[in-house]
């Protein structure tokens, strides 16, 4: 039996998620925003893996899903950066404050 309770892992995930969320919504540099999102995904992965070991029905599925999530995150990071660069070429900035195309 583990000496570390499930809630500790979950709490860690929660803290990381909150940090990521806060970063994603406050940081002005788009790259950092993307990284913060990655952090949030990681926090979710921790949960997945935690439950795969300590959940009601421990099974390998949680880990498999974490893998999928990592794969998708990687794809997302790649596409995100591509978009970022495209945008940067157009507007000469990565400052998120100035990206308000939604407004018009």
């Amino acid at each position: 039996m583990s000496s570390v309770p499930v809630s500790a892992f979950l709490a860690l995930a929660l803290i990381l998620f909150c940090i990521g969320l806060y970063g994603a919504l406050t940081k002005r540099n788009t790259v950092i925003v993307l990284i913060s999102i990655e952090l949030m995904l990681n926090a979710v992965n921790i949960n997945l893996v935690t439950f795969s070991k300590y959940g009601v029905n421990p099974s390998i599925t949680g880990q498999v899903f974490a893998l999928f999530a990592i794969a998708v995150a990687a794809a997302e990071a790649a596409v995100g950066l591509a978009i970022l660069i495209a945008l940067y070429r157009n507007r000469r900035t990565v400052n998120i404050d100035e990206m308000n195309q939604l407004k018009n």
Binding site: P5, L12, I15, Y22, I35, I60, L67, I85
Partner: protein, 174 residues
């Protein structure tokens, strides 16, 4: 709770991860932030090991600490103007609001999880972990696995197209 090695390992890893996160928020130079986050990613990999997910841990180190961080650094290098995070203007209220929101959210979720404890079920995840994952991926999750590859392909192609299209456009302009 006994002070076992596992616990000690968890605590230190968690500490490093959180510190990395906090540094992400508080450092001023973008590069530093990314580097700070590498610590977090690596310690998360450590957490995976504690959770008997060696394969995932390795993947974590490779993809996050390796690939994604490198991509991000490239991104910064390709785009950066000022190396520093410019001081936001007038966003104080929003930040405060958000901080409260995050705090509230965290508290609410913590309320839900703090005394969560499942009946411990003996499992064999740590034995031949990689093999188990492989078997699972190629039997039960074969279709998602294939779809993932499609996604990666699409992302690859998409990223290239996005990057190239603008080149052509600029080329047209010039």
């Amino acid at each position: 709770m006994t002070l076992t090695g596992e616990f000690f390992a968890f605590m230190s890893l968690a500490l490093v991860a959180v510190i990395g996160g906090v540094l992400l928020l508080n450092l001023t130079k973008v590069i530093h932030m990314v580097v700070a986050l590498v610590f977090t990613f690596v310690s998360i990999a450590g957490i995976y090991v504690l959770l008997s997910a060696e394969f995932v841990a390795v993947v974590q180190v490779m993809i996050y600490s390796g690939a994604i961080t490198i991509i991000m650094l490239f991104g910064i290098m390709l785009t950066r103007h000022h190396g520093e995070e410019a001081e936001p203007k007038g966003g104080g209220l929003r930040k405060l609001l958000l901080f409260l929101g995050v705090l509230g959210f965290g508290a609410a979720v913590y309320l839900g999880i703090y005394d969560l404890n499942f009946e411990a079920v003996p499992n064999t995840l740590h034995e031949n972990n990689t093999e188990q994952i492989g078997i699972s991926l190629y039997s039960q999750y074969i279709i998602p696995f294939e779809l993932t590859s499609v996604i990666l392909l699409v992302a690859l192609v998409g990223a290239i197209v996005l990057a190239r299209k603008d080149d052509e456009k600029e080329g047209d302009k010039e």
